[in-house]
Amino acid sequence: MATQLTERRKAEKRQTLVEFKDLQTIFETEAGTIRAVNGVSFQIREGETVCIVGESGSGKSVTALSLMRLISPPGKIVGGEIFFDGKDVLKLSEREMRHLRGNQVGMIFQEPMTSLNPVLTVGEQIMEPLMEHRLMTKSEARKQAIGLIEQVGIPRAAEIVDAYPHELSGGMRQRIMIAIALSCDPKLLIADEPTTALDVTIQAQILDLLRKLKEERNMALMLITHDLGVVAEMADYVIVMYGGRIVEEGYVLDIFRNPRHPYTEGLIKAKPVIGRRTERLYTIPGQVPNPINLPNHCYFADRCPYVMPACLERYPETTVDERGHKTACFRCAEGAER
């Protein structure tokens, strides 16, 4: 407990790097308006790993893409502010935005097979941002690229620099993606399901690598995942999203030891864990909500085992406890004990 508290104090002293304030991102589709991100507010501090957990349609990826302003039609950011290093990202010009992307914020994606350009060598792809943002000459950039390939743990970097993506395995490509994202020493790395497409043993390598690089560079990491195992291993701070809203957020130990939102609790209980034998798995009944026509009340109400009349009347407001653990649930608002 004591170490945990000192860690927390340390965390609070850190500067805020990113702040989302009531972000609203929608997608206009034929079937109706999807409120992909619906009033999301949270912070990422310097050097901190924040994991955003959620299932499909929870809005976790759209939140990250909104920060990069990579939402393309029919999607649109319709409200809120996103501050990065004190600047409102949503007010930057396209030029300033380009300077932010790839330079101050790096991003890696789920699919290492399609996020590299097949007709360019990996070296050329790492060199691109260096020449663009750092104004390096070709030979400087190349030297730097080889260094980066070494740093992401690929042996024979001097040969790999001239390889084409198809010559590399999935794990290697994801390492190259990380090298590209890190080339300009970003303050924040966004990793959107970086290991979902990879094998377990490769996932372990990549997670280790991300952790190591984050420590070395004192970089903040925004890790988007659906895997609670990955969260437990990587996160300092956890954001749980459901239906485009944050239902719970807090420090990783609080979230796992004392999940306060029934959805978080269900997610933790429903995941089969090695060594925890059960005859039946705990299940959350029903389906992930349809992002079109979300109800006016709590989105989780129809799957919630503790549903109360209030849950079917309006959406619960977020409450904060003395430990800074935030929850959007009426049970917490009333201080109900479980």
Partner: protein
Amino acid sequence: MTIATESKVRAVKRKADSPWKSAWRRFIRNPMAIAALTMLTVIVLFSFVGPFFSPYKDARITVKNANQPPSAEHWLGTDNLGRDVVLRLMQAGQISLLVGLMATGVILLLGGTIGLVSGFYGGWVDSIFMRFADIMFAIPTLPILITFGAILSDLKFPPDRRIYLVMLIIGLISWMGLSRLVRSQVLSLKEQEFMLAAEALGLRDRRKLFAHLLPNIIPIMIVSGTLGVAGAILLESALSFLGLGVIPPTPSWGQMLSAANNMVDFSKRPWLWIPPGVMILITVVSINVIGDALRDAFDPKMKR
């Protein structure tokens, strides 16, 4: 057992449309498509219903009325045999549209079947059909058609039946594109797990072909069929213009153009060649717009 209660699935509130219905809904919501469809309907009505209202439908050919410019009696003038151009345009429209439709029918039947069978069975069946398609592609069609047309004329093939032959020929020389399209679609469908599932379920080939593959290739058949009608109308016009297609007295738009193929008609009697040209243009453009709209309607992801 507790499965029923524990995992009871929430009712789907409103029954959603079938893929066909939602494609249709997307189609009729497209203003360009509606405009084109209206245009085409007007042309079809003009060609097939129009003649009943023409005062000249039973008129004899009177050469003394030949080559009159547009007037109150003959809105678009008369041709070199004294026939009313408006009526001629209507009758020609019937032929051109029919040729377009029937030729497309031949293309769909041949191209669709060959593509489906080729893609589904693969192996030597596929090799034979596709090599045959390659050969058909490689044949220079125009010289062959010119020769063919000459032979037909020599054989004194009855002109009224010649249009059927034209339909068949157009179909026979244009099925290859569709068959390749269908084949590649079938190949990609075969990679889908539901085709593997069909195999695992032990379904008969007939079922796999007609219940699983065919409904999934019908959209591309409809789209390319629609575009094919336009292509066939153009080809018929070209053939008739070269004297290889429909020959007089059977009219077609291409044939009407061909009849005006001399310097005097061209410079002095524009009412002879502008109207059929405009008809071809409007028809082909409308059909192509409809085809594109259908494509968007069937595959909304392709848009943009």
